[in-house]
């Protein structure tokens, strides 16, 4: 019996009818309210974009789409974007696989350091890599000047390289996850029957990982084609959809064409999101019980080792160099051009103002996001109403939506009554809230799955109302999820660029936008220093998150051992 139903019975004699009704239906009322929020702040802006792309001065028209498909330029842009996605995905998968293989199957001493390097880009705003490439290979780059290089950074090459570096952690994490869930006895059985390392990879590991690899590939593809910063900073004259949308809106104020580009950009995302959620659901090879254990190091043969080691070293080295370069560049006006070490980049007033603004916006986003995340998780797990999975899907879909599209959507949806938000801090915060909900919601869901519903029912049995139960039992248990949602939203919001770049008002600079502008105008020193500040903030957030995660895991295992 649901807690709510029970409490109705228990209170029927004492409470007024209205209170009983509220008690019994509070979870449904809450669900309806949350759904309205999702609809208004996530679905409505997207729909607004769709409508804009189909409506001309005299009503419905396909004119803008025809224009898109008839102009070579747009076609080139679409082609570049898709090609970028494919190349990026393949390269990221290969590197991610090598790294994950080494950290789960390789020698013990390499596992930890490689893992750290593979995850380090997580603390960087994605455009850190674009920035460091400019410093190294740009028109005034160190390497360019030193070797009088004529290699063209701006264009396809630069975007591919910076994107790849930025998406290594995502690829690594997803592949490591699937590798860890693979029963090591399977590979050992093949080994036992005489298979060499390469044969095991070819006949056992890769075929069994295929569904997981495909999932990772789809996700990386979606994320890379939607990524705005790298393409905008390094794209040069090569057109890509995401930055083109930006130019269309901010440069030419052509909202119709901007919307068309957005719809074209979002279409593959939506298709892939559905493939990801429905076609691949449950497509995982299962094996019979037995505890999964860390796989012991394989006696990898040198021939197999070589490509793995080369690829992991190159990737790890590149990541390291990019960080180092930005760090060093932050102490020069323009690294390689000016030669005095200065602190002025860190003291720059507008940059600090921008950081302060970013912290404010992100804090607001984090508070709202964490609350909504926890409530959504509760409604999704405990609710029993129709459409629950739809709410779950919508709330998790935010991260798959291209930021540029959400940005345009917010411009279209909230620049006029009934809700005029443009120009304020709320519009910046809210789009972050709804784009980055997924992690908070998932943390909440997994936390809720840990608690037995019986605890809640017991509380309801004792006569507690829904609200009391929620307040006394659910909230404390959900607290770690709340904090996780808070910090995650905060650190994602503070580096996010693609949506807010449409929404900032002149005179209210955000750090990410400031870095973007500085990078585009070649103010490398300021851009680097501001990036380093963001890196510092994100690192602190990560450390706190890690601390919480260890704390709560400890709590879990302590409970278990007490029960035994």
């Amino acid at each position: 019996m649901a807690p709510a139903e029970l409490s109705v019975k228990l209170q029927a004699s004492s409470g007024s009818k209205i209170r009983d009704f509220l008690n019994a239906n509070l979870i449904n009322i809450l669900a309806a309210f949350l759904f309205l929020l999702l609809a208004f702040f996530l679905l409505y802006p997207i729909i607004a974009v769709l409508i804009k792309s189909l409506r001309g001065p005299s009503g419905f028209t396909l004119e803008y789409y025809r224009s898109f498909f008839s102009k070579n330029y747009y076609f080139q842009s679409l082609f570049n974007t898709l090609l970028l996605g494919v190349i990026n995905t393949v390269v990221c998968l290969v590197i991610g696989f090598c790294l994950a293989y080494m950290t789960t199957r390789g020698p013990w001493i390499l596992r930890k350091p490689l893992k750290i390097i593979a995850l380090i880009p997580l603390i960087a705003p994605p455009y850190l890599f674009a920035l460091s490439l400019i410093i190294l290979f740009g028109r005034n780059g160190i390497v360019t000047r030193m070797f009088d290089l004529h290699w063209q950074l701006y264009g396809f090459n630069g975007v591919v390289i910076s994107q790849t570096l930025a998406f290594i952690p995502l690829a690594y994490m997803m592949i490591e996850n699937t590798l860890m869930s693979l029963n090591p006895n399977l590979e050992e059985s093949a080994y036992d029957m005489g298979a060499s390392e390469a044969t095991i990879l070819r006949t056992i590991t890769i075929p069994l990982l295929a569904p997981g690899l495909l999932k990772a590939a789809l996700l990386i593809f979606v994320m890379t084609i939607a990524e705005f910063g790298n393409a905008a900073i390094l794209g040069g004259r090569t057109p890509f959809l995401a930055p083109d949308t930006y130019t269309m809106i901010t440069g030419e104020s052509d909202f119709n064409m901007g919307s068309v580009l957005s719809v074209i950009l979002i279409a593959p995302c939506i298709i892939i999101f559905f493939i990801h959620n429905y076609l691949l659901e449950g497509k995982k090879f299962t094996t019979i019980g037995g505890k999964p254990v860390a796989s012991e190091p394989r006696k990898i043969t040198p021939l197999i080792q070589a490509p793995f080691i080369i690829i992991t070293t190159v990737a790890a080295g590149a990541i390291f160099i990019c960080f180092a370069v930005v760090f060093v560049a932050s102490f020069y006006k323009i690294l390689g051009v000016t030669h005095n070490v200065v602190l002025s980049n860190y003291l720059d007033f507008t940059s600090n103002q921008a950081i302060y603004n970013s912290i404010r916006v992100s804090f607001v986003a984090a508070v709202i996001g964490a609350f909504i995340g926890v409530l959504l998780a509760y409604v999704i797990v405990r609710g029993k109403f129709f459409g629950r999975t739809f709410i779950e899907m919508v709330s998790l879909s935010g991260f798959a939506l291209p930021g540029t599209v959400v940005g345009i959507g917010y411009l279209l949806a909230f620049s006029a009554p009934p809700l005029k938000l443009t120009g304020g801090i709320m519009i910046l915060a809210l789009n972050c809230v709804f784009r980055f909900l997924a992690v908070g919601v998932e943390a909440g869901i997994s936390k809720l799955h840990q608690i037995n519903i019986e605890i809640e029912e017991a509380s309801a049995d004792l006569g507690a109302s829904f609200l009391t139960t929620f307040y006394r039992i659910v909230l404390p248990i959900m607290f770690p999820a709340f904090i996780a949602g808070f910090i995650y939203t905060f650190m994602t919001a503070i580096v996010s660029l693609s949506a807010v770049v449409f929404l900032v008002s002149p005179g209210f600079a955000l750090a990410s936008v400031k870095i973007f502008d500085a990078a585009v105008y070649g103010e490398v020193g300021i851009a680097s220093a501001t990036t380093m500040k963001l890196v510092l903030i994100v690192t602190i957030c990560m450390l706190i998150l890690n601390f919480i995660r260890n704390k709560t895991r400890l709590g879990g295992s302590m409970k278990k051992s007490a029960a035994v």
Binding site: S189, Y191, D192, T203, L208, G289, K299
Partner: protein, 367 residues
């Protein structure tokens, strides 16, 4: 049997130690396994049985000691070059292959020609009675069938030593009995040297030529099932292989010729025929009294030899067997009365007589 003892052992473990970090998991294990023998490592969970199998299979390296397979030291060979084959506890069948592909995997890897693979797979599937399932995917098989596939796959290349890690632990009780008989029959027929691992002492006794009882990374005793059950080396083993009533006593006298031995206990004298050489007069001993070795009868007043009288606390009749709990002094003794005939009378009895057999095994008590 006698002939085999002169042969070179198929597998020799020489003082094997294994550390995981600072944690010593195997603390010096030595053993010889004869060709065609089925030796079972048995011991409580966590005592290092799986680790030992993984060491033999080559999945992890020994910290010190030698592993010798058919006269060759194999310490440094990787698993794919060792002629051992392991069946993991979870079977580790390849979920993306059919039954036939699983069984034929090793043959394919070893580049057998196609027609020979087909023939061999057919033969193996017939052996485990799965001919009809050749094209099934693994997840469409029952637990018992999966077990057979794993067994067939492990046998496909006729390894010198077969390593089985708790192969029956994922099956339900009835199937476990059937499968253990099948495995034993096949093993005897094929004369394949086998190291079997289980935590189930009854399974171990039923299936093995010899048992190796382990505890905390050390071998406690090696012997045939009969030796282990009837002449356990210490209290742990006595208790591990079945229920046991212990009774303390002191050896009063041993007749050198008849081996007739008198033991003083707090309930009176017990006379036994001593069959072991490690007990001397005046030793403090522990008598190992198995529940089924004791006779129980209704108290008729007379006091005979080796008879203790006690109070019947409970009598649980279960058809072929009645479980009796008898209080003797302040000690409780469990007695299994097989083929119980006077059940009706026992049900209401209060005082009973307990007859201790003359074949009791003695353990030296440490002081």
């Amino acid at each position: 049997m006698d002939m085999r003892e002169n042969e070179r052992p198929m597998l020799i473990l020489k003082d094997i130690h294994k550390f995981y970090g600072k944690n010593e998991v195997i603390k010096g294990v030595s053993l010889e396994v004869r060709k065609g023998e089925l030796v079972t490592f048995v011991g409580p969970s966590g005592c290092g049985k799986t680790t030992l199998l993984r060491l033999i299979g080559g999945f992890t390296d020994v910290s010190s000691g030698d592993i010798i397979l058919d006269g060759q030291r194999i310490n440094d060979l990787p698993p794919n070059l060792r002629d051992t084959r392991i069946c993991f506890q979870n079977y580790a069948l390849f979920p993306h292959m059919t039954v036939a592909e699983n069984v034929g995997y090793g043959l394919k890897i070893n580049k057998w020609p196609k027609h020979r693979i087909e023939a061999r797979v057919k033969e193996l599937l017939e052996m485990v009675e799965l001919q009809a399932f050749a094209d099934r995917m693994i997840d469409r098989l029952s637990g018992g069938q999966q077990q057979r596939v794993a067994f067939a796959r492990a046998l496909s290349l006729e390894p010198k030593v077969l390593l089985l890690d708790e192969p029956l632990s994922n099956l339900d009780a009835n199937l476990r009995l059937v499968m253990r008989e099948e495995i034993r029959n096949l093993q005897e027929r094929l004369q394949i040297t086998t190291v079997f691992v289980t935590h189930d002492q009854f399974e171990a006794m039923a299936i093995s030529d010899r048992l190796v009882v382990m505890k905390d990374g050390l071998i406690e005793q090696v012997g045939s099932p009969i030796e282990i059950y009837e002449r356990p080396a210490n209290e742990f083993i006595a208790g591990f292989v079945g229920y046991v009533n212990f009774m303390e006593g002191r050896v009063a006298s041993i007749d050198e010729n008849t081996r007739n031995t008198v033991i003083n206990t707090e309930y009176g004298k017990i006379e036994i025929t001593l069959s072991q050489g490690d007990i001397n007069s005046a030793d403090e001993v522990l008598m190992v009294i198995r529940p089924e070795s004791v006779n129980i009868s209704l108290d008729c007043g007379g006091k005979g030899q080796n008879v203790l009288s006690g109070a019947l606390k409970s009598y649980m009749y279960a058809g072929s067997l009645a479980k009796c709990t008898v209080k003797i002094g302040d000690r409780t003794m469990i007695i299994d009365q097989y083929n119980p005939r006077d059940a009706q009378q026992f049900k209401h009895a209060e005082k009973v007589e307990v007859h201790i057999p003359r074949s009791v095994h003695l353990l030296k008590r440490k002081r």
